[in-house]
């Protein structure tokens, strides 16, 4: 697997660390226990397209959102995480 970092170009996966699912969003503090349980512990874990956070620690050190197929490892898009996507907090 190689990831096309928008800042650094095409780089080997060993320069990156995966944090996991980028679609989960932190609930409002008053959201209640059930919402926080889902946020912290429950994952959709799809077989197929998965939006996930990767950190380019061995490069520009920025956070990326990678869309990748978990069945084939094919990457369909990479964008900077601070472009207003994902949870953002």
């Amino acid at each position: 697997m190689r990831i096309h970092c928008p800042h650094c170009g095409l780089r080997s996966i060993e320069e990156f660390t995966c944090l996991g699912d980028a679609t989960i969003a932190r609930p409002d503090p008053s959201g209640g226990e059930e919402a926080f349980y889902h946020y912290v512990y429950v994952r959709e874990n799809p077989k197929g397209r998965h939006r996930e956070y990767w950190h380019h620690g061995g490069g520009c050190r920025s956070w990326l959102i990678v869309e990748r197929d978990t069945a084939t490892h094919e990457i369909s898009s990479v964008e900077a995480a601070d472009a207003g996507h994902g949870d953002g907090s």
Binding site: S12, T17, R43, N45, T70
Partner: protein
């Protein structure tokens, strides 16, 4: 047929042409009292104990592929009960005790070899943590020995004790740990279950669940609908696929773990050594191949193959720990899909659906658990109550804050 010296001699005289099939090849009946999804180690062990220890009627195991082609046939076969926490250690020690009698119980040689396992430590802090773990093991009736440098040298003379980055200070050894033959475990349980009347159906993939009014009715498969009073799910890395069919998500992520086997060597290492600081472990199979493994690749995957940087990393760590491995030729590498739970510990529990039971969250350590997992899952399905050594392995522990987090990593599955 009972396997013994007499049956061997009798078959030898007939040129070995008369051995009966180890299990029947059959098509499913329309309905069973209990259906188990997944013909891996856990599903087969569950069916075996249901049929031999409980009175539950007709049982079937549905396997989408060939029997034993999942993680049960892909793992590095380490068996141990060296856990720290009270929710885990009694369960794994119960499992180790079952291993000690398994070949006799199944009348099938699972080649369980108690060659011991040594976890190396490299600092005062790591030693203190291992001493604590060893004491916890002893308090739970398991065995543990603290080795100093000379002790490590005696058991594993090939280890470079003076590694510059991680000099070896000693190791925590569990002498009763060891390895077993992975295929034989699947085949032995399958044979035992089949002889006890369980229908094992291969090439039968579950594609949907039929649920009415919150109660399980049966499963849709490529061979048609199969009715089930109770449904047990033991599909390892595919757990979320099945839970989705019942409209709930699990505290599980699927990740790929790779392993490697080398060309056959003369006897080289007669125990199991783990180098946790460097993400590497090693043992030797009876055929002579060195069996090597490391950590997860670290990203969600259902692909059953990993990436090359992990291969390189495992080999680097191996050569750092045992410099003479550098001329070793690796023959094969492969991957399996791990059901990584959010606290690194397994789940054997009921679900929001009546009659639907889940066995999941084994991470990279479910082979050693096979006998106890089958035993406790069968107990749960038969009695609708957790077995006494599995009361901590509940699905609701994440909701109630009763996590069993051995490594203290928190809800980050790729780190467990």
């Amino acid at each position: 047929m009972n396997y013994s010296i007499f049956s061997l001699v009798r078959q030898a005289l007939k040129g070995h042409k008369d051995w009966p099939k180890v299990w029947r090849r059959i098509l499913p009946e329309p309905k069973y009292d209990v259906v188990i999804i997944g013909g891996g180690g856990h599903g087969l062990a569950t069916a075996y104990y249901l049929a031999t220890k409980h009175n539950v009627g007709r049982v079937a195991v549905l396997e989408k592929s060939w029997l034993g082609g999942g993680n049960i046939g892909r793992n590095t076969t380490i068996v141990r009960s060296n856990y720290l926490l009270a929710g885990n250690e009694p369960f794994y020690e119960f499992s180790l005790k079952l291993w000690e009698g398994l070949t006799q119980e199944l009348n099938y040689n699972v080649m369980f070899s108690q060659r011991g396992i040594i976890n190396l430590f490299h600092s005062d802090a790591q030693r203190d943590a291992f001493v604590r773990r060893g004491n916890s093991m002893l308090l739970h009736g398991a065995d543990a020995v603290l080795l100093d440098r000379d002790g490590v040298k005696r058991h594993a003379p090939m280890v470079d004790l003076d590694n510059a980055r991680f000099p070896v200070m000693g190791g925590l050894m569990q002498p009763r740990g060891g390895t077993a033959r992975h295929d034989a475990v699947a085949w032995g349980y399958a044979r035992g279950a089949d002889m006890a009347g369980v229908d094992i159906i291969q090439n039968c993939e579950v594609t949907g669940l039929r649920i009415t009014n919150g109660t399980i009715q049966g499963v849709e498969t490529n061979l048609g609908f199969i009715g089930a009073e109770k449904l047990g799910v033991a599909v390892a890395g595919n757990s979320s696929d099945i839970s989705r069919m019942a409209q709930f998500d699990l505290p599980i992520e699927s990740h790929v773990l790779q392993a490697f086997v080398s060309e056959g060597l003369k006897p080289f290492i007669d125990t199991v050594v783990t180098f946790g600081a460097g993400h590497f472990y090693i043992s030797q199979s009876d055929k002579g191949g060195l069996v090597l493994g490391g950590d997860l690749d670290g990203y969600n995957s259902y692909a059953r193959r990993g990436n090359l940087p992990t291969v390189e990393h495992v080999m680097e760590c191996g050569v750092a720990m045992i410099p003479r491995l550098k001329r070793l030729r690796v023959l094969r590498s492969w991957g399996g899909i791990m059901d990584m739970s959010m606290d690194g510990s397994p789940i054997i529990d009921m679900t929001p659906v009546n009659g639907l039971y889940f066995n999941t969250g084994w991470c990279y350590g479910g082979f050693k658990a096979t006998p106890a997992s089958g035993w406790c899952f069968a107990h749960l399905i038969a009695n609708d109550a957790s077995h006494e050594v599995a009361t901590g392995l509940r699905l609701d522990r994440f909701r109630t804050g009763r996590m069993i987090d051995e490594s203290g990593h928190g809800a980050q599955p790729n780190l467990h």
